[in-house]
Symmetry: C2
Subunit: 83 residues, 2 copies
């Protein structure tokens, strides 16, 4: 197991929030939900969801689990992307 | 899509960090790594990894991605559990 270089860690810091945000936005649109509707389903406000979708904040695993649960998809399907 | 009740949200807040922590510990042990060794691979300190494994902190998606990357497993395989 190799140590992750600072460059790799920074790459993850940059890319992961954006990929996760786009996934949530894509799934939300597929289900015809507005940001306000999805945010309300998980007890968050629209602005916070907007920042998540833009990759401007790094959501924790509980917030993602709630969103994924509300979007009716499994975590393993949600995270089916390469890092 | 149903709104998540406060009870369900609290359930996720309780269970997800614990499940994620146990998954990381299980994978770390499978690979014969100490907490210190895994923590160093991702530029974190042992105490922080200890808290993650105990479910006492809720890691964000970048921290999990780094750990999962260091443990050489895909995110989709890591998150292959029911919520």
């Amino acid at each position: 197991m190799a140590q992750l270089s600072d460059k790799r860690l920074n790459q993850l810091k940059e890319s992961i929030p954006k990929i996760v945000g786009l996934r949530i936005k894509e799934l939300r649109n597929e289900r015809g939900l507005t940001q306000t509707e999805l945010a309300e389903l998980v007890g968050k406000d629209r602005q916070y969801l907007y920042k998540i979708e833009k990759g401007r904040v790094t959501p924790n695993v509980v917030t993602i689990s709630a969103l994924v649960y509300a979007l009716e998809i499994s975590l393993t399907d949600f995270f089916d992307f390469k890092i």
